[in-house]
């Protein structure tokens, strides 16, 4: 005899979103650098900023209040509306 059980999951149907096309080149683009507030993330991003600026890229720097929580909605919105691409520095 077959058994019927109840689905223990959230039964989500994730929305499918179109990805932004990957840029052919960074030339003339604005790139956001997001520091998640882990130690030495700034060292990594400082280095990247130097490299990117040398390539003629406009760089905007951002910082999450704490690495333990998701980035605030306002910050995500600001990055999405003012940058063409974003690089997120992880940690340590």
């Amino acid at each position: 005899m077959s058994v019927t059980i109840l689905d223990p999951t959230g039964e989500l149907r994730p929305a499918t979103r179109q990805r932004v096309a990957r840029p052919e080149s960074l030339n003339g683009l604005t790139v956001g650098l997001l520091d998640i507030s882990k130690p030495r993330g700034d060292v990594f991003l400082d280095h990247l900023e130097q490299k990117l600026t040398g390539l003629g890229v406009v760089v905007n720097r951002y910082r999450k209040p704490t690495f333990t929580k998701p980035a605030p909605v306002d910050l995500r919105h600001e990055i999405a509306t003012s940058c063409d691409a974003v690089i997120e520095a992880l940690a340590d």
Partner: protein
């Protein structure tokens, strides 16, 4: 499942419920026919529509709808029905009782005076679960997953990724319905928004996962309250499950519910063997993983993990403690049942078998707690100290209360920053250099959480180191348990 089968209305007058597979029913079959003729009796038959007779006064109840809805426990049962509902009942066969009940003389000539009845099929354990699901009007809305006839139900749950790596109890509708009897809350009540997918989690979903974890219905209120506490902004469950650090929610239960549901606050309280301790924390973790979607390798990025991530839940030994309870120390009344969620790693042993004075023991505990997370890290992580009864007796004998103990401990946990700043001793990990020359406390105010528990014998306590504390990490949360 919607309740598309309204409660059957019985015909007014005399009604009998019988089955052929009952020697007493067979014995009284002629009596029933006699009553049908003389007193208009209607008989409902559970297993053979031609028993006691193929006649218009015999009604088929092989789906057991009449028997289940009218709570028939024994056959034969005689009912007197008014306005569609039973007003009086007789079970088994007793001639004088039947004659009085029916107002008819001369019943069952030649039969014995008395015979007990048999069990009704509607309470037969083989069918009881199925009947409850069919007739009780389930409001559950979760997707039904029908497993194939040849599919092993335990393997099927592993295959779908719904376990924590250990077997779970298959959440059939009957089991979930029984689980829901453990709470007064409605199945569609929203308990919390569960990270990381931020899913609205209903009482029903928690009940399903509690079944899988092995909980009894009476544990469900603890699981529900624990989920509420875990999903507060302060506790920050998202961060706790996403971090590379091997931490999880540690549950401490206080108040009368500990004994009511049989929790362990004594021997082996942090270990295996007690069903409530072992399954409540597991149910919380399964709910978060299954509903919120925080699976290892997905959003859960723990570098090495910890056995406590399966679920770690225990009760405080309040009765054996000379101090106020842990919950009272957090502002709750002595009569309140509470659950506290603390973000922590696994328990580690605090060994002291020689201290006979409070001063010696507190000094040694302080020395051991210096290593909480790392001897070079201060203020950023709390600790939960589970003091054993024998260790506690040192402080009780000295007349120390909780405040005195914490003051003595804290005063011994002041650290010369020069020893632990970055670079000191050639070690690159440590406290920031600007603290050089200062003395810093190992823990922030209220950063030492003391709970009492363990067996009467044994000179060990335990410490559970915390995760990042405060607004930037996770704050310990206590909630009163609502039944």
């Amino acid at each position: 499942m919607s309740n598309d089968r309204p409660k059957p209305v019985l015909p007014d007058g005399l009604v009998a419920v019988v089955k052929k597979d009952c020697p007493t029913c067979v014995l009284v079959a002629p009596v029933l026919a006699d009553l049908a003729q003389r007193a208009g009796l209607i008989a409902y038959t559970q297993d053979d529509p031609a028993f006691p007779a193929s006649a218009s006064w015999v009604i088929d109840d092989s789906d057991l709808a009449v028997s289940w809805h009218h709570n028939i426990e024994t056959v034969p049962t005689l009912l007197r029905v008014e306005d569609g509902l039973p007003v009086a009942t007789v079970e088994g066969w007793r001639r004088d009782q039947w004659q009085e009940f029916c107002g008819v003389d001369g019943l069952g000539e030649g039969l014995p005076d008395w015979r007990p009845g048999c069990g009704s099929l509607s309470v037969d354990p083989r069918f009881a679960n199925e009947l409850m699901v069919r007739f009780s009007g389930s409001k559950m809305v979760s997707r039904r997953v029908e497993l194939a006839a040849l599919e092993d139900e335990h393997e099927a749950l592993f295959d779908r990724g719904w376990t924590d790596g250990m077997p779970v109890v298959p959440p059939t509708e009957a089991r979930v319905m029984r689980m829901l009897e453990g709470t007064s809350r409605a199945p569609d009540d929203i308990v919390a928004i569960v990270p990381p997918d931020l899913v609205e989690c209903t009482v029903e979903k928690v009940a399903i996962n509690a079944v899988m974890a092995g909980c009894k219905p009476e544990y469900l209120p603890v699981v529900l309250t624990a989920l509420e506490a875990a999903c507060t902004d302060e506790f920050n469950m998202h961060g706790l499950l996403a971090t590379t650090m091997p931490v999880g929610p540690i549950l401490v239960v206080n108040g009368p519910i500990r004994d009511e549901i049989g929790m362990n606050s004594g021997l082996n309280l942090l270990g295996q063997g007690n069903r409530a301790n072992s399954t409540i924390g597991r149910a919380l973790q399964l709910t978060i993983r299954n509903v919120g979607g925080g699976a290892p390798g997905g959003i859960d990025r723990a570098t090495q993990g910890s056995p406590s991530k399966i679920g770690l839940c225990f009760a405080e030994d309040e009765e054996g403690s000379p101090w106020d309870s842990f919950a009272e120390s957090r502002g709750f009344g002595a009569g309140a049942s509470t659950v506290t969620l603390y973000p922590g790693e696994g328990p580690r042993v605090l060994f002291d078998q020689r201290s006979r004075s409070a001063e010696s023991l507190v000094s040694h505990l302080a020395e051991m707690l210096r290593a909480n997370i790392s001897p070079r890290i201060a203020l950023q992580m709390d600790t939960m100290l589970v003091l054993s009864p024998e260790h506690m007796s040192r402080f009780a004998d000295a007349g120390w209360d909780r405040r005195r103990f914490l003051d003595e401990l804290t005063s011994r946990l002041m650290i010369e920053a020069d020893e632990v700043i970055i670079g000191a001793g050639g070690i690159e990990e440590g406290m920031p250099a600007f603290l050089a020359g200062t003395t810093i406390p190992k823990f922030p105010p209220d950063g030492i959480h003391v709970v009492h528990g363990g067996s009467r014998a044994g000179l060990f306590s335990a410490a559970i180191a915390g995760w990042v504390n405060g607004d930037t990490g996770s704050v310990t949360v206590t909630k009163e348990i609502v039944r």
